[in-house]
Symmetry: C2
Subunit: 454 residues, 2 copies
């Protein structure tokens, strides 16, 4: 009987991450210090991140970077993840397209996030830092870092956006189950938090504010670093394990993707899949490969933002990076795909888009969930709200194949399950789920406040 | 680097279920009609179940039964599941024991239940029955049958215990996401339901009552069958895919189990793992293999019940079977392991216990969760409350090895994740989780009401 899943023996697991910076036709723009607006120094970055991660951040020469044995050993509790062929979805769509999906939802935390969380926890521990802070909104990243902390004996403190802390207790409990500390943000643990609580005791918090608290604590304590779950180069690097595995699995399946589809919030999951493929497009080996980034209509950084230098965080405490941005002060409408509600985008993705190697499309959340339901009723998996966006575009592309009669190979980067997002499915199923009007005014206002950079 | 996971290529996936009945040294006692108390007829059973399942139920000759192609095709959306080596737990315990676990939590519904749900949905559809009813408590079984219904285009109606329906909306929504209908039980859809609601409008319901409603609807409609998620022989048969896969994977890992541990509620998950191994014990090939069934102290059918003929359901509408029972009227204390709150036990398991091939042990839920936390912080996985019980006993056995210095191989039958059970973890972590006093009086009362059978 034909295979619908391709496993990769652990003895064949990739031992290196792929560093796209070595293959870029033009180098990335510099990262700037938020105060001096000069290129950041290693010392500045080292207050927040381990040296090894900073070296990876700026490495433009090594195409492949070895995954430390200790990290590989932890990867082996859930990796390689499975490559699936969506035969049942293909049949339902009556399409000649071949639809594959690489699924990152089977690990302990349920998304791609642990791929970088364990690497960051390891590098911190290896450099003697036994404590890290971070922020989390809906909780995927906080869960992943808590899990990684348990694996490496690193203490983790998570600032969780207050409204999520109250409304999504399961993610909070998962973080505690792995032994991490989680506090609602704004919290009395930081200066900015105390000031906010004095002004607004019931403040529901925001991701930007939680980042500021996590950074304040890390900057203020010698024993503590800060950990970031997306956007920056070293995070994308760690995620390339996904695409490196997929390349081997596609060989097993005797297939090669014509189209790769993934959703982008900060961009790390999708980059983890497509970066190992895009080298074939850059080198000219597979020029016609299409790489489609999918974002929510409510937070369309690439499709509607401007390519400019902006703060990565909401409060202007972190580095300034060149990216497609809606303005660091922009607060997107409360769509369910919390992981896609980011004002900017990974610089690597923006750069590749600017160079013409990738395209982007925006999707309203009702259409995303419609696709998610179709996927659940054919392939079975209940997807997170974020990957529902890819599913919508993958289905559209498969239906185009039906019209044209072309048997294209579509590869979906599926970031994880929706077990903690069933409230959103309930809204869709009961007809209560809404789309938001395009937030033009809020975006224009935020774009007027980009930092001035020479 | 050494492997911690063993995948089984889909081309090597077992194509047959294992039928223990062909290898039993003594046949099972008969199943009786609840009214006549005579052995049930095929016609009686066919009101509820498809003919193929009934044939499997009474098949004592074929050791292996082929899995229909259509079922294998659906299995291939998530099977074979992975065999893990718990290196990190071993290290934390500092034990010379080798701990393996076969994990059924990665499928779309998150437990072993779909293994039989898809088979039952298929057989019903193949016999022209396009509609099935069932009951669910915490929702694992309802989820699995809803998923199976989506795969085969079979309409599924789930009577969900009212208190779970209200308290666990996520399971209810998952069932609806797969397209099934779910109503709180007691419901106005049945005669028994309407009578109950008239007497007690706010009745929280019970699993026994929900079974009665599901059976009443199936009996009353020609187009509808009833579907059962555990206990009976054909359900255990369908679950043997777990152990058949594990046998192949243990060969890959160059290991053979000395001890197999699993939790038992109705018994289907654990039987699915150990039945394919116990044939080596029955045949004398591996006489000293220990098979340990773990039950909750609050519902200790095998360790404290009597071996007698009793109703499988709470209301006496279903067949009478010989089993270890606490009395069909016994309502266990509300421990979190909803899947282990069953008054009886699969007849096959009881028979094998009576013949001396398997042993049983009871565990209090606080100890189970303690083990679950240790597992989460070493292996990462947040386990359902049910498999936490096995983890406790597996850890105990591993610690005995530490004392004796023996390097035994322990195989854990891990039935699934606890993503919808985090409230229980929260209780444990915050010190609110309690154990219940042994419900001696309730059990004695229930045992006084066993059906009279000649």
């Amino acid at each position: 009987m034909k295979r619908a899943m391709w496993f990769l023996d652990q003895r064949e697991m990739p031992t290196h991450w792929y560093n796209i910076q070595a293959d870029l036709p033009e180098p990335l723009p510099p990262t700037l210090n938020p105060v001096t607006k000069e290129p950041v120094t290693l010392e500045f970055m080292n207050v927040l991140f381990p040296i090894e991660c900073i070296k990876q951040e700026i490495n433009t020469t090594d195409r492949f970077i070895e995954i430390p044995d200790e990290v590989q050993e932890v990867y082996r509790t859930w990796r390689p993840t499975v490559l699936h062929r969506a035969y049942r979805l293909e049949k339902a769509l009556d399409t000649p397209a071949k639809i594959f999906y690489k699924y990152e939802g089977t690990n302990q935390a349920g998304s791609h996030k642990p791929n970088t969380a364990v690497a960051q926890a390891y590098y911190n521990k290896a450099e003697g830092v036994r404590r890290v802070t971070t922020e989390t909104g809906a909780g995927q990243w906080g869960s992943a870092l808590a899990l990684a902390g348990a694996f490496f004996g690193v203490e983790v403190k998570v600032y969780m956006v207050r409204i999520s802390y109250d409304q999504k207790p399961y993610r909070r409990i998962a973080i505690e189950t792995w032994g991490a500390k989680v506090v609602p943000s704004p919290s009395p643990d930081t200066k900015v938090g105390r000031e906010m609580l004095a002004k607004w005791p019931d403040c529901p918090g925001s991701l930007g504010f939680a980042i500021s608290e996590a950074i304040e604590e890390a900057v203020g304590r010698d024993d503590t670093h800060y950990s970031l779950g997306s956007v920056v180069n070293h995070v994308l690097l760690h995620q390339t394990i996904i695409g490196e595995e997929t390349r081997k699995q596609m060989v097993m399946a005797d297939a090669y993707p014509d189209i790769i589809v993934g959703c982008i919030g900060g961009g790390s999951n999708f980059a983890g899949q497509f970066l190992p493929w895009i080298r074939d497009k850059i080198s000219g080996k597979k020029k016609d490969m299409r790489i489609i980034c999918v974002e929510p209509e409510s937070c369309p950084s690439v499709t509607k933002g401007v390519y400019a230098f902006d703060y990565g965080d909401a409060c202007g405490m972190g580095p300034i990076i060149k990216m497609y941005t809606l303005g660091h002060g922009f607060i997107p409408p409360p769509v369910h795909a919390g992981g896609l509600r980011y004002h900017g985008m990974a610089p690597i993705i923006c750069h590749l888009h600017k160079l013409g190697f990738i395209e982007a499309v925006a999707v309203p959340q009702t259409k995303a969930f419609e696709a998610g339901i179709q996927f659940a009723r054919t392939e079975g998996i209940i997807s997170g709200p974020e990957p529902c966006h890819n599913l919508k575009v993958a289905i559209d592309e498969a239906l185009k194949c039906k019209e044209s009669g072309e048997s294209k190979t579509i590869l979906i980067a599926h970031s994880g399950h929706g077990h903690f997002d069933l409230g959103a499915y309930d809204e869709y199923l009961s007809g209560r789920l809404q789309d938001y009007e395009y937030p033009r005014e809020a975006i224009e206002k935020a774009l007027a406040e980009l930092p001035k950079v020479e």
